[in-house]
């Protein structure tokens, strides 16, 4: 019975979203106050119904209701209850429902916090959001319903894919979706502004905090995914330029550009049409990314179209939402004019170049991600694009971007007064270069051409971001949250650059073949396999190794890598053994049984790798701090 309640709730949510879209958009266009007044109740109904549907699916998983096909396919009675809940978004149907719920939750938050906005404008924002959730509810109900029954019921479920049985991955999709969907709010604000034909600095002030929070969620989501890939996939890498990763990274890059462009629009009333376009693009890439990933189209065109109705539905939805917004843009954007001018070395210029470089980087990733798909669709054969393309093409715009940021932080609005800040700029640069040279000379082995450049840029940017706020703080001057958040985020970008440089330059890795008691050499490190024994988990049994790692004869780490065999899915998983230290990770993963008691062991020592994710979290933290700035609270409070 309970699955049917979820199904009905979802149908009611669909109807509520229809009402929300209709009364919001048409009511505002015709100036019907009573229609506009129905929008907020419709949002509330939609929120309650979607929450009910999601709750029902969670209950079905927790109670092991294997008469529901989706539960039977993605859970098992031996699965721990936490993962049973995470299994809700373990596959296509449930992910869509989670996506829709997060969208409705954001909509609900916008409805609650937008009471001070002009009624017509708020109605249009909520109307656009209603249209998007209408599409998602319809897609879920008509092509991907998670509430369908299995008759006869399965005696037990097929279990959650063991790859997904991991805390970081349980949290990764909700974070990622919160980011994706958050850009829907910026998108809706942009569409509403275009519909009204009015876009001013207050518009940018309303949009900014929503966008920054969405960006922070997306940053954390991507970092969690990367962290998971690092220790769960057992390859020891943290970024693979995989289409699925790219799909989340493109909206992040464009979203980062949007945050900066919104700053210019808010402070100076410039870049209006550009900001609109970025708001549309950020969400379009999120939508495209979700669908490409969920439908598997990027892995292979074939699985996308394996269900042609699903494929056509997706395409029609993309055409309506993205195509509609871009048409609106082509019609309305020419009407927006910015009068104010600025000097070449003013902050506006730096942010303009920031935008160009970020969009170029996103474009390069987009081209590499879509190339196999395009080549396949045009019948040009299969094509695979890897690191050899992505690494250089991505670094080309982003290295200058780092230098630009290090200088641009010191610039001021409108007037090019960089000359006055010459001392701070040069001093930080000199310190950055000196420290980089010392680092590289101190650990020369394995350094590459980009190693000193990466260190110097990272340190320079970090110092540049911090020098001003620290100076103000020392002199007892006030610091706004906006300034503090910005400093943290930019310093984090510097830290990110430093740690990526260290990882890429100084990682030691080797595949060893070890029997118990044997030792293998990895650079200056020694790996000794001390023990190998069978252990048992809740829904798997495993072989667990005990590896001691020595550096120059001194014991520096003890690792417990596992090779798990999950019973139900009959899948063998590698659980890497990682010793996290302050300045490095010592890593080992068990590979294959090579016979005669020997096992292949992937051994890696990676310096500073944890700072890559720490930096991503700090960036997100900076965004959140900036969002709590007083001027946004004053705006929403009165």
């Amino acid at each position: 019975m309970i699955a049917e309640i979820g199904h009905y709730a979802l149908i009611l949510a669909l109807l509520a979203s229809l009402a929300q879209a209709f009364f919001g958009l048409i009511g505002a266009a015709r100036n019907h106050d009573s229609w506009v007044a129905t929008v907020r109740p419709a949002v509330t109904v939609q929120f309650l119904m979607t929450s009910l549907a999601l709750a029902v699916l969670v209950v079905a998983f927790v109670q092991n209701d294997f008469s529901v096909e989706y539960v039977a396919a993605n859970s098992n009675s031996a699965l721990p209850v936490g993962y049973r809940i995470a299994a809700v978004w373990g596959a296509h149907e449930g992910s869509l429902l989670l996506w829709a719920w997060i969208l409705v939750a954001w909509t609900f938050a916008v409805a609650a916090l937008s009471k001070r906005l002009p009624a017509g404008f708020a109605a249009r924002v909520l109307g656009v959001l209603g249209l998007v959730s209408l599409g998602f509810h319809a897609f879920t109900l008509f092509t991907s319903n998670p509430f369908l029954r299995l008759d006869p019921a399965a005696p037990d479920g097929r279990d959650l894919n063991p790859l997904l049985q991991d805390p970081a991955l349980a949290a990764h999709p909700p974070m990622l979706y919160a980011g994706y969907v958050g850009f829907a709010v910026a998108f809706a604000f942009a569409c509403a502004a275009m519909l009204e034909g009015r876009l001013d600095q207050t518009w940018a002030r309303w949009t900014r905090p929503w966008t920054t929070v969405a960006w922070a969620f997306l940053s954390i989501g991507i970092a969690l995914g990367s962290w998971w890939a690092y220790y769960e996939l057992g390859w020891g890498g943290y970024w693979f330029w995989d289409p699925v990763e790219n799909a989340s990274f493109m909206p992040w890059l464009v979203g980062t550009a949007l945050i900066h462009s919104l700053a210019v629009t808010e402070k100076r009333g410039l870049f209006k049409s550009w900001t609109l376009l970025l708001a549309i693009l950020a969400f379009s890439l999120s939508l495209l990314g979700t669908f490409l990933v969920r439908s598997g189209v990027l892995v292979s065109v074939h699985s996308f179209a394996a269900d042609p109705t699903r494929g056509m539905f997706i395409l029609a939805f993309l055409v309506i939402v993205i195509g509609g917004a871009l048409t609106l843009y082509a019609w309305r954007a020419p009407l927006l004019r910015s009068e104010a001018g600025f000097e070449f070395t003013a902050r506006e210029s730096f942010l303009l170049f920031n935008n160009i470089l970020l969009v170029v980087a996103a474009g390069a990733v987009f081209a590499g991600t879509m190339a196999p798909l395009i080549s396949d669709a045009l019948g040009l054969g299969t094509l695979s694009v890897g690191r050899q393309y992505f690494d250089p093409v991505f670094l080309l715009p982003t290295l200058p971007l780092l230098a630009l940021a290090a200088v641009g932080i010191h610039s001021s609005w409108k007037k090019g007064r960089l000359g006055e800040r010459r001392k701070a700029i040069l001093l930080t640069l000199v310190v950055g270069v000196l420290v980089a040279v010392v680092l590289v000379l101190g650990a020369w082995e394995g350094a590459m051409l980009l190693t000193p450049i990466g260190f110097a840029l990272g340190i320079w940017l970090m110092l540049s971001a911090l020098v001003d706020p620290i100076d103000r703080w020392r002199r007892g001057l006030s610091l706004s949250r906006g300034v503090v958040g910005m400093a943290i985020a930019h310093a984090a970008l510097g830290l990110f650059t430093i740690s990526i440089t260290a990882v890429e330059s100084y990682t030691r890795e080797r595949d060893l073949a070890l029997a118990v008691g044997e030792t293998g050499q990895v650079g200056e490190f020694e790996y000794r396999l001390r023990d190998l024994r069978a252990v048992e988990g809740p829904n798997y049994d495993a072989l667990r190794g005990e590896i001691v790692v020595y550096e120059n004869g001194r014991e520096i780490g003890l690792l417990h890598p596992e090779k798990r065999n999950y019973w139900v899915q009959r899948q063998v998983m590698t659980e890497a053994g990682i010793d996290m230290q302050l300045t490095r990770d010592i890593f080992a993963a068990l590979g294959e049984d090579l016979g005669a008691g020997r096992w292949s062991v992937r051994a890696q020592v990676r310096p500073l790798i944890n700072y890559v994710w720490l930096a991503a979290f700090l960036m997100a933290l900076g965004g959140v701090i900036a969002t709590t700035d007083r001027r946004y609270r004053q705006e929403s409070a009165g």
Binding site: H302, F304, A305, A330, R570
Partner: protein, 179 residues
């Protein structure tokens, strides 16, 4: 003001590519198998419920179907009625590959639901399934008289797929079931 139309134009191109991708797709198999056009991997496995061994080579000279299944797989249960129907038609010999399963559970299953297989080979370790590149159960392969894999279907069969993709590939003379 054409520059404001540019994003919409680029998007239209993208839509065209995606549209072509969807249109072209039904001509292709869902998950292309590296095995198609190559000879079927040889194997020797115990026969379910007996002491005999089954040699895949013994089928050389005949077209046959290899169906991968397990009692732990709900989709296999969905597929079972179709398989019984196919077995009744006696169009082709159907070899079952019981994948990573429990022998007694498999025998119970066949007793309760009916046995569509001419013979069931037991792949307890899943090694043969790896040779065949099995993606997930149920999965069905069509092998021709020279021992070449002609077609592969991932997921449960239905009669429509059976007649279009399997029977449609047979030369007229080779139909006729049973081992």
């Amino acid at each position: 003001m054409t520059r404001f139309l540019l994003p919409a134009g680029v998007f239209a191109l993208l839509v065209a590519v995606l549209f072509i991708g969807i249109q072209r797709a039904p001509e292709k198999t869902v998950i292309p198998s590296a095995l198609i056009g190559k000879s079927a991997p040889a194997f020797t496995l115990p026969v379910l419920g007996s002491d005999q061994q089954f040699y895949a080579d013994s089928l050389r000279g005949r077209w046959y179907v290899l169906n991968v299944w397990g009692t732990w797989c709900p989709e296999c249960r969905n597929e079972h009625d179709t398989l019984l129907e196919i077995a009744r038609s006696r169009a082709l010999p159907v070899v079952g590959l019981n994948w990573k399963d429990d022998d007694s559970a498999a025998l119970d299953w066949l007793e309760q639901l009916g046995n569509p297989y001419d013979v069931v080979a037991v792949d307890r370790e899943g090694r043969v399934a790896i040779d065949w590149g099995v993606y997930g159960a149920p999965e069905t392969f069509l092998v021709d008289a020279t021992g070449t894999v002609v077609y592969r279907h991932v997921g449960p069969l239905n009669l429509q797929i059976w007649s279009r993709e399997f029977l449609g590939r047979l030369p007229r003379a080779s139909a006729g079931g049973g081992l």
